[in-house]
């Protein structure tokens, strides 16, 4: 029978999310909480009402707009820098060798470590946050583009060359399409890092934005607002990642099942 | 009584969320001890499934298979298989891979080691004992597969299109070596292949299996003298044999092409 097996998967998954939420909701009604705990305990319903309240008052939209701007600017810069640089590193071995230690070191270092420095340089406005987002997003893009370019099939390049194609045509017709799956995968990773960058960037020294909202809610003992913010980020992250994955699948339809195991 | 007896064997695959696929229905055959038997048939006709039943990994839904008079209860050391995609454990050296069957049998290390070394030499891989599968060519990998299967000294050697993944020259070479090894050991070999020529060249008998669900369509004896050599492939008798096998196969191929249900 088709039906029961197909339903099993979403049913189990859904239950594993719904049941804990329900249990969470039920806790304060069942267990008496110590006075101190009441300060930082909240329930899903409270979180939902907090979110609603924020949206109705427009406060949410304001903060969201700031974070969105930081996210988009940072991501945009990362694409503008990461893609061309990745292609350049892929094509020119010497450049690649020269920059390799720097890229490796910067990639391995958690971006967070630059935050105090970035705040010194860019101040507490949006530009330090844009910088954090940029630093987080540029490396997956750079590295994946690089990998994509390096993995170009030499045979295809020769085929196209034999038909009289010039360098830029070779890049356009062979290198880029072959590198595209890598680039899109890099983009998917970059988005996750960018969102994280927004959150963390706004944590330390900010006066607006969703991350700031979360941090200040925590200091003001408003766990419902805090979780509301976290929830929004989670939803955004999931939506964006899944969208990119959908695009990724469409773009890589021609590929035989290759390295992407996860 | 024949050494291996399959009587009216049937097996149906029932994958989740899809329609049931009958792989075998009413397959009967007999194999004499020490015989080299080939199974040819269209894709999906169940030849590999039958091999898996002989190995003991699958249980038939209908009918019965007996070896030496006893029904098959699961994998045992009197049978061993050589797999088409080699199936070598990538994290083990050549030697360790050959030792696998012996290890599972509980043979002590020293004895395993000695026996494995012998077999590595037998299949012509001396010097490669410490190599890893990813360092070997296709032909070399299959030699390891063969050595591994021979290590437990099984009575029955099951070979599932073992040379299909190899290039033509390596394939010819492996065929000759297989015949030589078999000639010295007199094991019973059941060989599944798509290649009519390969089946005719290697076997004592060729069984043509019908299109899915598989059953025995035709049994064709090969009366060429042994030991076989390459020139026999050019003789008129050989060509007649090939033609005969091909005719039987052709009908089954036509059946398979039209209205085929995708395999599970």
């Amino acid at each position: 029978m088709r039906r029961p097996r197909d339903l099993e998967r979403p049913l189990l998954g859904g239950m594993c999310i719904v049941l804990p939420l329900m249990a969470w909701e039920a806790v304060p009604r069942i267990l008496p909480l110590p006075q101190g705990a009441k300060l930082f305990f909240t329930t899903p319903s409270h979180i939902a009402t907090a979110l609603l309240r924020l949206v109705q008052s427009g406060e949410f939209q304001r903060h969201f707009a700031v974070s969105a701007v930081e996210f988009l600017l940072g991501l945009g810069c990362a694409i503008a820098v990461g893609l061309p640089l990745g292609i350049a590193l892929g094509r020119f071995r010497t450049l690649d060798a020269a920059l390799d230690p720097t890229v490796t070191a910067l990639n391995a270092t958690p971006r967070i470590v630059w935050i105090p420095l970035l705040i010194l340089w860019f101040g507490l406005g949006i530009w330090s946050k844009v910088a954090v987002v940029f630093l987080g997003a540029v490396f997956p893009l750079l590295i994946n583009t690089y990998e994509g370019v390096r993995s170009t099939d030499r045979v295809l390049v020769n085929v196209v060359r034999s038909f009289g194609a010039r360098e830029w045509q070779v890049t356009w017709m062979v290198v880029l399409p072959q590198a595209l799956p890598y680039i899109v995968a890099g983009f998917r990773l970059a988005i996750g890092r960018a969102i994280l960058g927004v959150v963390v960037g706004e944590f330390f020294g900010a006066s607006r934005g969703l991350g700031y909202l979360i941090a200040s809610a925590a200091s003001n003992y408003q766990p419902d607002v805090m979780f509301a913010g976290v929830g929004v980020f989670m939803a955004l992250s999931l939506i964006l990642t899944f969208s990119v994955q959908a695009v990724e699948s469409r773009l890589t339809r021609w590929r035989p099942e290759a390295a992407e195991r996860l | 009584m024949a050494y291996i007896q399959a009587a009216d064997v049937g097996l149906t695959f029932r994958p989740a969320n899809r329609e049931a696929v009958p792989a075998l229905r009413g397959l009967s055959l007999e194999v004499a001890r020490g015989e080299f038997l080939s199974l040819v048939g269209p894709s999906g006709c169940g030849k590999s499934t039958f091999l898996n039943i002989l190995l003991g990994l699958l249980r038939p839904d209908a009918g019965e298979v007996r070896i030496g008079g006893r029904p098959i209860a699961g994998p045992a050391s009197d049978r061993a298989m050589v797999f088409q995609e080699f199936g070598l454990l990538p994290w083990r050296t050549v030697l360790a891979n050959v030792e696998l069957g012996l290890e599972l049998k509980g043979v002590p290390p020293a004895e395993r080691h000695a026996r494995a070394m012998d077999l590595v030499g037998l299949v012509g891989l001396r010097g490669f004992e410490r190599h890893y599968p990813h360092e070997l060519s296709g032909g070399m990998k299959q030699r390891v597969g063969l050595a591994r299967a021979l290590a437990t000294d099984p009575d029955v050697l099951l070979m599932d299109e073992p040379f299909a993944a190899l290039d033509a020259q390596t394939r010819d070479q492996m065929q000759a070596e297989l015949l030589q090894i078999w000639g010295q050991s007199k094991k019973t070999v059941i060989f599944v292949t798509h290649s009519i020529e390969e089946a005719a060249y290697l076997s004592d008998r060729v069984i043509v299996v019908s299109a899915r669900p598989g059953r025995t369509k035709d049994v064709i004896p090969v009366r060429l003298p042994r030991p076989r050599d390459y020139e026999m492939r050019l003789s008129p008798e050989f060509n007649e044999l090939r033609l005969r096998i091909w005719k039987a196969l052709k009908e089954e191929l036509a059946v398979t092409r039209v209205g085929d249900v995708p395999a599970a």
């Binding site: 930082f40 920059l99 270092t109 990773l189 925590a218 999931l238 | 797999f83 599972l104």
Partner: protein, 262 residues
């Protein structure tokens, strides 16, 4: 490795080191002679080196590193102890994966760092909060990668071992376990990156010692050379750890190549 490849690798390394050295030299020379610079904004390599020496001799650097390392190790160990078995069960039992995967994916997508303030408020400043933060961030790569490793077991190899008379225990020990190892090591590489983020955020936010705290404190007091020392120490640690894992990966799984990024 063939002598030719060895030479090429040496040359690559040389070019890389030269470019870094050239950059540092240019930085030093430019800031010592030509450019007028604001010490509250930027510094130069010689000052950083002096601060480095001072901190090593003074002992504070060692102490900070030890504190951070302690919390890091605790959190990471817990992540391994919890993540790997959980991932294995998920990989082995399809239903468990169906049930847990959506929940874990949602959690993984959430910026769990945002919970840092809440954690610190509830548990208090100190090693427990930091270790817990590290654990929350580092556990996911282990879970997902172990699961993928178990699920990625080649069914052909299972047939092979069963065909040669292997029983359940043999399947685990001879096929599944060795097959999972490369995945787990790759997961460790990802986990380490995330763990470093956790340690830094924990120490930035509320701590009185540790490398992260040192960096942010020096930033607050505009002591740039000392701050750069902290950043560099962290960079070296990050690169060191990542390289070690890469070496382990190459050792453990020479037959595997390709990306395992999530």
């Amino acid at each position: 490795m063939s002598p030719r490849r060895r030479l090429a690798r040496r040359r690559r390394l040389l070019v890389g080191c030269l470019s870094v050295a050239a950059f540092l030299a240019a930085w030093e020379i430019a800031f010592s002679t030509v450019i007028r610079w604001d010490p509250f904004f930027i510094t130069k390599p010689s000052l950083i080196a002096a601060a480095f020496r001072e901190q090593i001799l003074g002992g504070k650097l060692w102490h900070d590193m030890a504190v951070s390392a302690w919390a890091f190790t605790w959190g990471l160990s817990l992540a391994v102890l919890v993540g790997i078995p959980l991932g294995a069960v998920m990989g082995w039992r399809r239903r468990v994966e169906y049930a847990l995967d959506p929940l874990l994916t949602a959690l993984y997508a959430s910026p769990l760092i945002a919970l840092a303030p809440l954690l610190i408020i509830t548990i208090g400043v100190g090693i427990t909060a930091k270790a817990l933060l590290v654990f929350l961030l580092a556990v996911f790569p282990f879970v997902f990668n172990t699961c993928a490793g178990v699920r990625g077991t080649d069914p052909l190899l299972i047939s092979v071992v069963r065909g040669f008379g292997g029983r359940e225990r043999d399947l685990y020990l001879k096929v599944i376990l060795p097959g999972v190892v490369p995945y787990v090591v790759a997961g460790a590489r990802l986990a380490i990156g995330r763990a470093l983020i956790g340690i830094l955020v924990g120490e930035f936010y509320a701590s009185s010692e540790g490398i992260g705290f040192a960096i942010s404190r020096f930033g607050d007091t505009y002591r740039l050379p000392e701050m750069f020392v902290g950043i560099l120490v962290l960079m070296v640690a990050a690169v060191g750890l990542t390289e070690v894992i890469r070496k382990v990966e190459a050792l453990v799984a020479p037959w595997r190549l390709g990306q395992q990024e999530r």
